[in-house]
């Protein structure tokens, strides 16, 4: 799957990229600020975007999520401030930092399933990670 990474902390972005690529996804980014995110989003089709709330150059991930949703790209927030993300009304949910490789991989899988409309009954073994907050 094609995944857009919007994250301004270089090391966290590196970590996310590593985990996503190990899970077999193709990653665009990381975009560190809103304008870069929107440019990258327009460059190819993405199945999902992982979006941090606080971005570089004083820009905001919530605005990015609003635009991406409008472009048909589902968004999953990845942040340590879930309240702001949840209140925004955008995005499928929020993965709360810090996260493990397993938690990120599993959250992305669930988000992709929800985005594809396949909300299959979750088996106990595949319960969502504890730090994944699904909206709606």
């Amino acid at each position: 799957m094609n995944i857009l990474l919007v994250e301004d902390e270089a090391l966290i972005a590196m970590e996310q990229q590593l985990y996503l690529e190990e899970a077999g996804h193709s990653v665009t980014g990381p975009a560190t600020h809103a304008a870069a995110a929107l440019t990258m989003a327009a460059s190819r089709r993405h199945d999902l975007a992982l979006v941090d709330v606080h971005l570089a150059r004083d820009t905001n991930g919530i605005m990015v999520a609003r635009e991406l949703t409008g472009m048909g790209v589902p968004c999953l927030f990845v942040t340590s401030h879930p309240e702001e993300a949840q209140a925004s009304g955008y995005g499928l949910g929020c993965l709360i930092k810090p996260f493990s490789q397993e938690e990120l991989t599993r959250s992305v899988e669930l988000a992709l399933e929800i985005a594809a409309g396949r909300q299959a009954a979750l088996a106990p073994a595949s319960a969502p990670p504890r730090n994944l907050l699904l909206f709606g």
């Binding site: 270089a10 090391l11 560190t32």
Partner: protein
């Protein structure tokens, strides 16, 4: 009727028609003339008083400035003018409606054939005084509106510091009435220590500049509660006397708010220092855990990887260590950080392994750049140590700062980089960390050509 008696009768008519009081006394103080105006103003008829002592009409004045003036006229032939403005109640006179009649007196000797007499002229100044008062009130109205509604205390003293006047705000702030305070020393309103700070005497006043900043002093408020006051003073002169008017602003609340704010800032400083201290301790604990993990690994290839991880965590811990040692939390003394990092890396490797020459300009970096820059520096120097060819590794670290930004250069005398080395494409974690973090802080990474070894240069614009 003879012309002489006509003249006397006519003069009597004239005296009674005058719009002022006329009294003539003989040498024995007996009334010889008492005109109709005097009858109206005193309710004492000419008939009852003629030939009697004037003191029957004014018994209370037998020993007064008035009686002195009469004596001066009769005995010394001297004239006196007793004005209303200097002697508020001269004679007990009244207007037809009963209100007191304000008057000036002119008392002068008359030389008559029968001996020295005393002429007393009484001039009604009630209307004049009233008109002056109205004019003054109108003129003062604007001034009084400002003074009476002012929130600041306004007080006036003479040059000796004796209170002459105060406004309503002063009465409220110092909890005294004007009547209680006027005539007392200004010290009544001030703390013991600050009593002497009210400008007294012409020298103190002369030495004050008009634009001098307000004096800060402590006053005595309701129940002796200390008040923080700001005093601005001006001197002015009236009829050869000098007065000092001071505006005393009550800044107690403002001072309290400022103190509270300063305390809050101080508390926050302590808190921030404490947080940085704890973060540093926690990071060192984590770094220490990794070191423990290494201890049991023998010659495992995982050992150097754990060492790298431990060193990276220590580099971030060092940033927090410097932050809590400083009074500033929004910037990091990067020069001190660099010096400490170099010392520690040399010590950890051993003198025989590595020597670092450091040349650094003074530089404070923004807190957002501090941890990334600390990590970048750690990677560059540890890379140089790691890839040394000879012992000890000779490493030059230079930090140059100018108004446009700063440049950090780390060069070694090792075997140098492989031909065609591209930092952006390097797969090693160290290089990936350097390139990603350099980009994050808005800097650029260059690999300048060097005759010997390798050099890396990070340039960060301001």
């Amino acid at each position: 009727m003879s012309p002489a008696s006509d003249s006397i009768r006519n003069s009597g008519l004239v005296l009674d028609a005058l719009d002022s009081g006329v009294v003539i006394l003989g040498a024995d103080h007996r009334v010889q003339i008492w005109n109709a105006w005097m009858e109206r103003a005193t309710d004492v008829s000419k008939a009852t008083l003629m030939g009697k002592s004037i003191w029957e009409a004014f018994p209370a004045l037998a020993d007064s400035r008035f009686s002195d003036a009469i004596d001066d006229a009769l005995e010394a032939g001297a004239s006196s003018v007793l004005t209303h403005s200097l002697h508020s109640a001269l004679l007990p006179l009244h207007l037809p409606d009963g209100r007191p009649l304000l008057h000036d007196l002119m008392i002068r000797p008359l030389i008559a054939p029968e001996g020295r007499q005393c002429l007393i002229q009484v001039r009604d100044v009630t209307v004049t005084v009233e008109r002056e008062r109205l004019l003054r009130e109108r003129r003062d109205a604007k001034y009084r509106a400002v003074v009476d509604t002012a929130l600041d205390a306004i007080v006036t003293t003479d040059t000796a510091g004796t209170l002459q006047w105060m406004n309503r705000a002063a009465e409220r702030i110092f909890d005294v009435t004007s009547a209680e305070a006027v005539g007392q020393d200004i010290g009544l309103l001030l703390s013991l220590e600050d009593r002497s700070r009210w400008p007294r005497g012409s020298e103190a006043l002369a030495s004050r500049e008009a634009s001098a900043p307000p004096i800060e002093l402590i006053g005595r408020g309701r129940g002796g509660v200390p008040l923080n006051l700001e005093l601005s003073v001006a001197e002015w002169r009236s009829e050869d006397r000098t007065f000092v008017t001071g505006i005393l602003r009550d800044v107690t609340e403002r001072r309290r708010a400022r103190d509270a704010l300063e305390q809050a800032v101080a508390d926050k400083t302590v808190l921030l220092r404490e947080i940085n201290h704890r973060v540093k301790n926690s990071l060192q604990l984590v770094s220490g855990l990794l070191s423990l993990q290494m201890a049991g690994l023998g010659d495992s290839p995982a050992k150097p990887l754990l060492r790298d991880a431990s060193d990276r965590i220590s580099a971030v811990a060092r940033v927090h260590h410097r932050l809590y040692q400083s009074d500033k939390f929004s910037t990091l003394d990067f020069t001190a950080f660099l010096r400490e990092l170099c010392d520690d890396l040399v010590q950890a490797s051993g003198d025989s392994v590595c020597a670092i020459r450091l040349e650094a300009d003074a530089l404070e970096v923004d807190i957002d750049q501090a941890a990334p820059l600390g990590l970048i520096t750690n990677e560059l120097i540890t890379n140089a140590i790691k890839h040394r060819a000879l012992n000890p590794a000779l490493i030059d670290v230079s930090l140059r700062s100018d108004p446009g930004g700063f440049t950090l250069t780390v060069s070694d005398q090792g075997p140098g980089l492989v031909t065609g080395f591209d930092a952006a494409k390097s797969k090693t974690l160290g290089m990936r960390i350097i390139t990603a973090l350099t980009r994050q802080i808005g800097g650029t990474l260059q690999i300048p050509p060097t005759p010997l070894g390798a050099a890396f240069r990070v340039t960060v614009p301001r």
